[in-house]
């Protein structure tokens, strides 16, 4: 009970739990926003109905194919291996051949099953609990516990039970919450009592049971599997007695397991490793709903059964090791291997430090933020998330887009009448001719002079001509606009629209990708620099620093320089990634064309080319990011560490985040001046300039205020604790 109280009634756990809950709900809503529209739900239900109609045939087909598995081997008349596999598969599917399928209203439920983030978040929470189990940082505490009568084996047993209990609790809570959220978003309640095979998502689940039971089974299975994953970490921690090394080993192990899972095929001789994998423990829905067999050492193996057997064995081994280590309580410092690893790591670290000493002060500051304050973790998270949010799949694949690209590349550039003479006018004439011809066909059909097939051919032809005509009309509209604006060139708008205007990767997305990128960048700044001033406070170094000649204004400016360097680097990354993704999605043309050529920009006040505009945009974004950094910095000076990080996150990122749900609070968001383009679209160039100027002024004031705070003559704020 005390252990439970220690974990649950702890500020860090409480905040983490709260954040996990919030994040789960928000991300679920965002991730599925295209799935809970009425049309999407209708499509889902239609597809499910179609699936249910042909389900019996599907199962019978599998059984028939399985039963017919036979072949000639060199030594035997039949291929016993294939036969055995066929027999097993047939037997399994036989169990579900007779299930009655009914309507499920399960679009939301399937989204809940597919939602992976919740598993990751629960795992993170449980990793935190395991870390709290290891009292190695306070060795004396560990020794005190070990000398109590219940401080060894019994404590380990209690902690294993507690881990299981918390895992189940978290799963039940978060999945119930998700289920409720899905009911609200999808406006339908799933039918829990119908057979789970009624959902096409579970068509290969070979156990006859209801949706409700499958849901409970999944929650329990997922909870227990996560306990096993964190017990692996716990075991490594116990064996290493070193948090950082254990974390590195565990991360390496998970990475290897993931690579094994992704790279090995089902027919690979070591496919056993693919289907009995740590990564699969996180993605347990895949394990549950899929029926798989593979061969290992000439034996047919059912993936689920083998997984269950190995899971029990590994679970027992883990418990055994933890109990044994808990009972003996030996510190790993006695181990030669561990001491050697520590020595090697220390010498690598010393070498890095030696190199750092040769560089100017700003590198020391970066070293502090990145290495000692673990800023590299935020950096890694930033890189992973930034890459993850990019979508490089082609924008559209219809033929007309290719045709449009070809026309723009042929006639693009400064306007000339050639496009009318060579393309628009002939196309229009052709269209008029085709319309007349089609009318004739219709008339002849009505007179029953031609049959239905001939009419269908004519309709097809007319459809194609109509599509071409629509394209001609849209290009004509564009050309007429270009004709009116003498500065503008005729260029393909699509790519530029995606990069700079309201269309995101997919039509109707708005600035979604840009907003997500900007929010991530600002969140990165909030957390990356959260410890920059707090570290001095915590380590009580501020008294020494401030007593040195350059420890005030000079040091402050060096730290501000860090913000600037980071702002520049982030803008470069942002711009380069955007261009790279754009190149994959839709090509950009005519970089040197005047900005007026992009017709979605209204009232461009000065004449400049697109490439100059791109450079200017990057410069202004850097300045905006820097100005926002100054404001963040000032807050971090007042409230350092994670508290400051979260506070700045709430102040600067959350309003933008909320506005993504069509709640109009983006006026409160300082992410807008960082993105700049949404501002230009909303208020035009002139007002955007004013807003940016005011924003930079606020940034400058924040810089000055921060400087006064740190370098001022005599301070109460920076006194030691």
């Amino acid at each position: 009970m005390m252990e439970l109280r220690k974990i649950l009634f702890n500020k860090r756990s409480f905040i983490s739990f709260f954040l996990i809950t919030i994040m789960t709900c928000f991300v679920f809503a965002i991730q599925n926003r295209s799935s809970y529209s009425n049309s999407a739900i209708e499509t889902f239900n239609r597809n499910e109905l179609a699936y249910q109609k042909q389900y019996k045939t599907y199962v019978q087909k599998i059984m028939a194919v399985s039963e017919s598995y036979s072949g000639i081997s060199i030594f035997e008349k039949t291929n016993t291996f294939a036969k055995k596999r066929g027999e097993i598969t047939s037997r399994r599917y036989k169990r579900i051949a007779g299930v009655q399928l009914k309507q499920t209203h399960g679009a939301g439920l399937v989204s809940v099953f597919k939602f992976m983030l919740v598993n990751v978040l629960i795992l993170v929470f449980m990793i935190m609990i395991v870390f709290s189990y290891t009292d190695y940082e306070h060795l004396s505490l560990r020794l005190i516990i070990a000398t109590t009568p219940k401080g060894r084996t019994r404590l380990v047993i209690r902690r294993i039970f507690l881990l299981t209990f918390i895992s189940i609790l978290m799963h039940v809570f978060l999945y119930t919450l998700l289920l409720m959220e899905s009911c609200v978003l999808f406006k339908e309640i799933p039918s829990f009592f119908v057979s789970v095979q009624s959902l096409s998502y579970f068509k290969d689940f070979t156990f006859p049971m209801s949706i409700g039971n499958a849901f409970i089974l999944y929650i329990l299975m997922s909870a227990i599997l996560k306990v096993m994953v964190v017990m692996v970490l716990w075991m490594i921690l116990v064996l290493c007695s070193h948090k950082s090394i254990a974390s590195a080993i565990f991360s390496g192990l998970v990475a290897i397991e993931y690579l094994v899972y992704v790279t090995l095929s089902q027919s690979h001789p070591f496919s056993l490793l693919k289907y009995n994998n740590l990564y699969l423990c996180l993605n347990s829905i895949d394990l549950l709903r899929s029926y798989r067999t593979y061969s290992f050492m000439n034996q047919v193996i059912e993936a689920q059964r083998m997984f269950l057997c190995l899971f029990i064995i590994v679970f027992m081994i883990l418990i055994g090791i933890l109990l044994f280590k808990g009972h003996t309580q030996r510190t790993f410092h006695q181990s030669y291997i561990m001491t050697s690893i520590e020595r090697i790591l220390e010498s690598i670290h010393s070498y890095i430090k030696l190199i750092i000493t040769k560089f100017p002060l700003v590198f020391h500051e970066f070293y502090k933020v990145i290495i000692t304050q673990k800023g590299w973790i935020f950096f890694l998270c930033f890189i992973v998330l930034f890459i993850k949010m990019q979508d490089t799949s082609p924008y559209l694949t219809q033929g007309s887009i290719e045709q449009q690209k070809a026309i723009y590349s042929k006639y693009g550039g400064v306007y000339s009448k050639r496009i009318f003479v060579e393309y628009i006018d002939p196309c229009k004439k052709n269209y008029a001719k085709e319309v007349k011809r089609y009318k004739d066909v219709l008339k002849r059909y009505e007179e029953k002079k031609i049959n239905k097939d001939e009419l269908f051919d004519a309709q097809m032809r007319m459809d194609n001509i109509q599509n071409e005509y629509n394209l001609v009309k849209s290009i004509e509209v564009h050309v007429n606009k270009v004709k009116k604006n003498k500065k503008a060139w005729l260029i393909d708008q699509n790519g530029w629209k995606m990069l700079l205007s309201k269309d995101g990767h997919y039509a109707g997305e708005g600035f979604l990708t840009m907003e997500k990128e900007a929010m991530l960048i600002v969140a990165f700044i909030c957390f990356f620099f959260s410890s920059i001033w707090d570290y001095d406070q915590r380590s009580e170094m501020n008294l020494i620093l401030r007593a040195t000649a350059k420890g005030r204004t000079y040091l402050y400016n060096k730290r501000i320089l860090m913000y600037f360097i980071v702002s520049v680097l982030l803008t470069i990354v942002w711009t380069v990634v955007d261009f790279y993704v754009q190149a994959k999605v839709y090509p950009l043309t005519f970089f040197s064309a005047p900005l007026d050529s992009l017709l979605f920009f209204k009232n461009v006040p000065i004449s400049l080319s697109i490439n100059v505009f791109i450079v200017l945009l990057a410069i202004y974004r850097t300045l905006s990011l820097f100005a926002l950094s100054m404001i963040i910095n000032f807050i971090l000076m007042k409230i350092g560490s994670f508290k400051g990080g979260f506070l700045t996150l709430i102040l600067f990122v959350v309003p933008q985040f909320i506005s993504m749900f069509n709640i109009d609070v983006h006026y409160l968001s300082l992410i807008q001046p960082v993105m700049i383009l949404p501002l230009i679209h909303e208020v035009g160039f002139v007002y955007t300039s004013w807003i940016l100027m005011i924003f930079y002024l606020i940034g400058f004031i924040a810089y000055k205020a921060g400087k006064k705070l740190w370098s001022g003559k005599g301070m109460n704020l920076w006194k030691s604790k």
Binding site: L354, G551, K713, S720
Partner: protein, 295 residues
């Protein structure tokens, strides 16, 4: 600001006051400091650290002034801080830094050239016996080693004013002696301020002693004069003497001392007593002075 070696330095503290809410930490202190080693003695909360923090401009004064050779140190700013070396009471560090890295970092903030800083840092590390572990993380250092690296950073750049706040905390007797020797070798051409509540730290090396109590300097003199000032007040009474049984409840702050003639009870008091118990001036030490004035 470069200081000419043949000129005298003078720090003049005038009517310096620091108030925290209703608590007066430093109460109208006036003082003049010239070259020499000053030991600031006082019990916890007497205002020693407050005085030093005001001298390093880490704390905002409530009133009064601190002048270095007639110029206010707040106005001098960077030029003043170039001249000071400060060792705080807290053992604050960037734990992941190595000793050498830490000294080079502080050296850069002190405005010492890289080459010069490297040379000085290595010399100081040798002086404080940390040269062999200069590449190890400070995290792995013991309390004594941390104190020594703190002293080394204070001495980096050869400052003219050295301010040491409780320098011997956490040191074993051997390390304490070593540190005392280092401080005494700093020379008499610098202003060295050592704040401590351990009298033996400054007894042999300080040229002047400042006794502080409740935010005020109650006594400021040379150790000899201070000892002379309590002549006849220090008494040692054998514990088997009847007189001891009579006074033991009255003088509870006395200390037991082992002497060749047996266990003695040592008290500092200006109460009139039998002269046979009174010690000569040569047997009086600064601890007696401290007990007399401070307690």
């Amino acid at each position: 600001m470069e200081w000419e070696g043949d000129e005298f330095m003078e720090i003049k503290i005038e009517d310096l006051t620091k108030v925290y809410g209703s608590h007066v930490a430093l109460n109208h202190v006036s003082l003049t400091l010239n070259e020499g080693i000053y030991g600031i003695l006082g019990e916890n909360g007497a205002g020693k650290s407050t005085l030093l923090n005001l001298l390093t401009d880490n704390l905002k004064r409530s009133s009064g002034s601190i002048l270095l050779d007639g110029k206010d140190i707040l106005k001098m700013g960077k030029d003043y801080r170039k001249m000071i070396g400060y060792m705080p009471q807290q053992q604050g560090f960037y734990e992941d830094f190595s000793a050498l890295q830490f000294l080079l970092y502080i050296g850069e903030l002190k405005g010492i050239s890289r080459k010069q800083c490297n040379k000085q840092a290595l010399k100081l590390l040798k002086m404080v016996n940390l040269y062999d572990v200069r590449h190890h993380s400070i995290r792995s250092y013991s309390g004594g080693m941390r104190q020594r690296i703190l002293l080394a950073q204070a001495l980096l750049g050869n400052p003219d004013i050295i301010i040491l706040d409780e320098p011997s905390v956490g040191l074993d007797p051997r390390e304490r002696t070593h540190m005392r020797n280092i401080i005494s070798h700093l020379g008499r051409e610098k202003i060295v301020l050592i704040s401590t509540h351990i009298v033996s730290d400054v007894e042999s090396i300080a040229s002047d002693i400042l006794l502080m109590k409740k935010g005020k300097i109650i006594k400021n003199d040379t150790p000899t004069s201070l000892i002379h000032s309590i002549k006849g007040y220090v008494k040692e009474i054998p514990i088997d003497d009847l007189y001891y049984k009579k006074i033991k409840n009255h003088y509870k702050d006395g200390v037991f001392m082992q002497r060749s003639g047996g266990l003695q009870y040592r008290i500092v008091t200006d109460d009139k007593m039998d002269s046979q118990f009174t010690l000569d001036e040569e047997h009086i030490n600064l601890e007696d002075v401290y007990l007399y004035y401070v307690q």
